[in-house]
Symmetry: D2
Subunit: 350 residues, 4 copies
């Protein structure tokens, strides 16, 4: 990412989550309300546990925007952690506050605990959990919700839907599956689809592997905690003939059209004027009430995994995160293609 670049920070129970976004041109209207509505969507969905109620995330903008419009300077977004007061000592930066309260040593399979404790040389696994937690996706959604508002200026829109949860394939079945899992102290993942419409032709490029838009989108989605698979277009490509799969072209009123979109809107790593279609698979949440077998690092004995308050299913949240991650990639590509330092200048070029 070259123009729309950003860093995020923040621990799950730390004081706040923060993001700085650098490279947004001047003059874009940014609405906190929209960011907050995306944050709310991320917290929703059937199958969420207790924390979601505590949180009710809202964003504060502390730089880069004046009187509702971007200045061209870096934008800071902050989401306060609502229950920080209960964690203030436990998450303190001050060495004098050192405590082993809430420390734990029983690896949770499927989480960063094991590899993280080896990598960062940590005994207390909380030092891994705090940043590896999916909590950090809240601030990523905030960043993406800003990117979406950039895209919105050019009428680029996003839709999404859950395709499957467990064995369920309809909304009614989703709930049943989740109820079943919840009762069993178990968890579920699922599959979802995201569609972006009205993208200009020619975002991305085939000229170098790291400019292929499909690759960038795959990275953005696969790097969401718990995503294990990403597809662009028809994921059954592997068992179709070329003559079935490829989206033939026709002329309609002097414009190239297609009757299918198996390519999912990308050919040669570029948008081709058709809707961009991305599907992804989320694994079941790895923190289970019915705990998994594991090893206790402190005593090096077999044990049951640490349990931290958790959800049964978060596919909807994951889908919202993916939408917003993709928005960041698209905003970057868009800004690179059109250049320009202000909305006015860009609008003249589009």
């Amino acid at each position: 990412m070259n123009k729309f670049r950003f860093l995020t920070a923040g621990e799950s129970h730390g004081k706040c989550l923060t993001a700085i976004i650098e490279g947004v041109p001047a003059g874009f209207e940014i609405k906190e309300d929209f960011i907050n509505s995306e944050l709310k969507r991320r917290q929703g969905g059937y199958g969420r546990g207790g924390r979601m109620k505590i949180e009710s995330d809202t964003v504060e903008i502390t730089s880069g925007i004046r009187f509702g419009k971007t200045l061209g300077s870096p934008i800071t977004l902050v989401i306060q952690n609502k229950d920080y007061e209960n964690w203030q000592k436990i998450m303190s930066t001050d060495p004098k506050d050192f405590t082993e309260e809430k420390a734990f040593s029983k690896f949770r399979p499927g989480h960063a605990d094991f590899a993280g404790s080896v990598k960062y040389n940590q005994i207390d696994l909380r030092n891994i959990l705090e940043r590896s937690s999916a909590r950090k996706t809240a601030i990523e959604v905030a960043v993406g919700a800003l990117a979406k508002q950039i895209l919105e200026q050019f009428n680029i829109k996003c839709d999404s839907r859950i395709i499957q949860i467990g064995q369920g394939k309809t909304e009614e079945e989703f709930k049943k599956e989740i109820d079943k899992a919840k009762e069993a102290g178990d968890t579920l993942g699922g599959k979802f689809e995201i569609v972006y419409k009205n993208l200009p032709i020619g975002l991305g490029s085939f000229v170098h592997w790291d400019r292929m838009l499909d690759g960038k989108i795959a990275q953005a989605v696969m790097s969401i905690p718990a995503v294990k698979s990403v597809s662009i277009g028809n994921e059954f490509a592997y068992c179709m003939f070329g003559s079935e799969f490829h989206d033939q072209m026709y002329l309609e009123n002097g414009k190239v059209t297609r009757k299918t979109n198996n390519a999912g809107g990308l050919e040669g790593g570029m948008t081709n004027g058709e809707p961009l279609v991305v599907t992804a698979v989320m694994k079941p949440i790895p923190t289970l009430r019915k705990p998994l077998n594991t090893v206790d690092k402190s005593i090096m004995q077999e044990s049951k995994a640490h349990f931290e308050r958790s959800d049964t299913c978060a596919v909807e949240a994951c889908m919202v995160v993916a939408e917003n991650r993709i928005a960041c990639i698209l905003a970057d590509e868009f800004l690179m293609k059109f250049g320009g330092d202000s909305l006015t200048e860009i609008k003249n070029r589009v």
Copy 2:
């Protein structure tokens, strides 16, 4: 990619393909023979057409290596195009050689032709085809074959296998499917799996989205022309319970072990000591002998797509490319984790 960074260049029928790799420490033994054997693997597989015989790619190293060892300076790899003499005029850099021979204007669905011609403002679609061609993956394999030799020094090894081609699920069936497609002037894609073993624990990181190793691998594989889906670990995650999916941990001789590897060797965006397992789906090749409906750009009329010499199935080639792309990512992560400017220095640290 921070330490193992590279650029590649070259048109399909241009004089040569070139890569420059910057950031390899000094003292690594690099064997041209191994690079050539990977290039040969890329050219093989059942279902390849005529060009593969012409080519027989071999690499030449023109910088960065002396007496068989890396110097620490940028390494240049060159693959000459064997039939360049037949294309010398057509692909000339000289404006005086301008010709419309081999020019074409009928978009090939599934290729970069349409979006590319819009993006780069080209009338002759050869100006798009030449770089968007899968030919460029040859030099990417050469770069990856160098990365593999870096990994090999630390006993990191790669395996791979084709899982499915068309409807076929065994080698025998693969051939039948390909024969059937070939006869029909059609093409096929497929699905394959790549496994890397002996990776140290803790490559990648959860601390920031763009350091997650799963995301980087997804980008590297999805940016290969024709790849439409990438999965890490068990791709059926979406319909399993958490208690089934997550790889429980046990102690064996004082070491953490697992009985399953549904995570595919990555937890929290980091290698966890288990084999890294990546699967990917390749779409059917978009250049068909039995041509698809399309539009002729020059006359803006419906037409049949341009046909350029092509293969029926290139899943094996795609798999070789993916292996080598992943090697680049892993070499980069490895060199970042251990730092060091010479092999000796790194060996002392591993």
Copy 3:
């Protein structure tokens, strides 16, 4: 910058300045007190105006550090703007608060006002001033003060001194020059020198232009507002013979030594074991009480430049900023050379 990467944000009269630093390994002790002492140094020096007293910057760490040590996760630093309450409406993010209070339209020569208003399409020059102000160097100092603490762990230390202010070449003369300028409503720049000692041999590299350490340092220092010249080593190189300039080598107790350091500690873009010596020139502060001729953008007429509370001389502040900017570059190079994810791991390698 590859490992120690960061973004900063914040307007001069906005709510706060923020930085996120990504890539610091786990286990480093970070002291807020040290960061605050560097912030204080930046606010000091003879010739500073009123604002410095208002500010008295202090840093708050809101992520990435627990019980005094880095976690390996991104670190957030925040400096509140002390007089924000007086600017809350003027710098509001809310469009309903729109006001022209404190707006201005008279370009200040030497500032970003003119080019910035063209680039970002702004009428109110406050929209340029707020980010182009040297105020933002406060948070850069905080980032650098963190980098210094990383270097400190390996006994790498920094010294600095002012060489010249106006015509003055001693501390006593500095004050006289400044008093003279102040009285005249004028401003002064100067020249300073920074020395880093105990750097390991071989930071940076000659193998590619963008890995040359001298280039990276030059960028870091030249990008400080008001710096117009950067030198490494003896800046009179241009009028010396090679036999005078180059630092000959001798053996002393089996170790290579030198009697001179005209190279300033860098040969071939790498540290060579001698102290790193950087000098830089700061131009006079461009906001003058005795205002310069300029143009009023709103009425397009000649005018006198806008005056915003300012200092007479800030060479000492600039020197502190430069020290800390260089620390960021050196920390990055150090972490790249040694790799590693925790202090323990790195200490084993150094």
Copy 4:
């Protein structure tokens, strides 16, 4: 550098120098002749030694350009080393060719030899010399000569002149100084100035330190081997009053004008419409016929430095390199500001 990115490779006596440039939009006319004329300028100047006659560099373009115009794909530039046949065995990539012919172990002060041999763990200092040699600037000039042709399309032009060599301040004196040094087996550096005209207002930015154009230029110039000092605008800023230094603004025919250009065309890290003026200092060449005291690494005894064929003075060459390095930075900024994938598209925006 975001759009105009490149890697270079090649040893001083290797087969060839190579560069790959990625990110140039389609449709730019590129003339090999112009690149060759810049290569010739780099080889000229009073005080050059014998090698320059051997070389007579010419570029070959092997990708990215067809019929004289850029395709949008990566561009490969190659400069063959003319006397490679004499070095073929000595610089062979094949371990079977191993030889100690032309190996050396006596550090040359002022060169990369000492730090390089420590960093890359090399005994034969040729393994350092070959890449640290200024020979690599030939291919950098070729890259810059391509960048200059991009800028030329928008009427952006470059001038330069030598200011000082040794004590000499006029062309006549330059020659005398060089003759004197040559006779003494000594070497000389000097000072030069580069001016770019007709740059659009607003290249670069103040919003983040790494987007300041002055910083980027400083890096590009300071990373040229032998450059020790870089200034932008009037380098005597440190001893002037603000009222003297800053370039006051006036109105002339409704346009903002200035009578001075002490800022050197950059305010707030951005081009301000005035000519960009950069001065730099080159140190004396470190390879002397009258050799310096040093240490012999192989026997760890004091010795006289290795002598490799060399020049007396190469300030003119260095100036040509600097011009072309700066061109790369400016082309990148220009392409970022205007975006666009083809010359036609960009021309519509400028």
